[in-house]
């Protein structure tokens, strides 16, 4: 079995943003998710107007991917072949709730197409795929909590049996003002920093890998 490596990873928690284990941005803990993500978007000097149209889940995933890929200088061929495998615990419930609220009464029946369109986790992955022209398969599985062992085993299967050479893997979870994102880029690049295994996945999820 060929060895796989974690090239880089990003974590966004309620108080800070980490890249490869180092804190790169601090949030104002008293601010709500929306304000913090906007502050991060502006701090990174990003110009991607679609950001403002996204729901919270997609914004979190999109920003995580921008931070992850910004210094890696990956080729279009690499993105072409990349597969996305994300997990979370609440699927798209944050936006599902907003949509449900808009249609819950006959007197105030005001569904919004731009809200409804985000009531699937597929859209979060689609936003990243559109941004980077990623054309590999994508999966989002729902777990009670971050399951490094399953994620590692499933990823191994993708690499070994489905010919995947580049993988964007992670956990992106949002419900109201409770959120966490973790994205890692995994490949067969032997010059990368960390072995791809469940221990290192947990350490990087906890931002402890340096």
């Amino acid at each position: 079995m060929n060895k796989k490596m974690i090239n880089s990873y990003v974590g966004i928690t309620k108080d800070a943003v980490f890249k490869d284990g180092n804190k790169v941005f601090s949030f104002n803990e008293s601010e709500l998710l929306n304000e913090n993500l906007r502050a991060l978007y502006k701090s990174e000097d990003l110009k991607y107007s679609k950001f403002y149209k996204m729901d919270h889940l997609s914004r979190l995933a999109y920003l995580s991917s921008e931070l992850l890929f910004k210094d890696l200088e990956l080729s279009s061929d690499t993105f072409n072949e990349m597969c996305i495998f994300l997990t979370n615990s609440t699927a798209s419930l944050d936006t599902d709730s907003a949509h449900q609220k808009s249609i819950s009464s006959n007197e105030n029946y005001q569904p919004s197409p731009s809200v409804f369109v985000y009531t699937l986790t597929n859209i979060m992955m689609g936003e990243i795929a559109i941004r980077y022209k990623i054309k590999g398969e994508n999966y989002c599985l729902i777990f009670n909590k971050f399951d490094a062992e399953f994620m590692h085993e499933y990823s191994d299967m993708l690499f070994e049996f489905y010919g995947v050479n580049h993988l964007l893997i992670g956990w992106v979870d949002v419900l109201k003002n409770d959120y966490k994102s973790f994205l890692a880029y995994v490949s067969k690049d032997m010059n990368a920093k960390w072995d791809f295994n469940s221990d290192n996945l947990i350490k990087s999820y906890k931002n402890e890998l340096r």
């Binding site: 107007s49 403002y52 149209k53 569904p111 197409p113 731009s114």
Partner: protein, 87 residues
């Protein structure tokens, strides 16, 4: 309300409804295309504009084919509202 005043009102409504937070009212030319090269709106935005017309102005677009002309620009949208809004 005359056409120019309605256009100004629509600018604010569109920025809010379509989450165009990075665009100011002053940057929107009333004669620019709303879709494509102009404001760059997409198909979901088109649905939001249809909802906006119905919710804010009580106008329901019965023939979807007319949408292309109605939503050509802010000015065409304002003129359609003026022609079709019931007092």
């Amino acid at each position: 309300m005359n056409t120019e005043e309605l256009i100004e009102q629509l600018k604010g409504e569109i920025i809010e409804q379509l989450n165009l937070e990075d665009i100011s009212k002053e940057e929107i030319n009333p004669d620019d295309e709303l879709f494509g090269a102009g404001l760059g709106l997409d198909s979901i935005d088109a649905l939001e504009l249809i909802v906006l017309l119905e919710r804010s102005y009580g106008i329901k677009i019965e023939d979807p084919k007319k949408g292309r002309d109605i939503f050509k620009s802010l000015r065409s949208m304002a003129e359609y509202i003026q022609e079709n809004q019931k007092d």
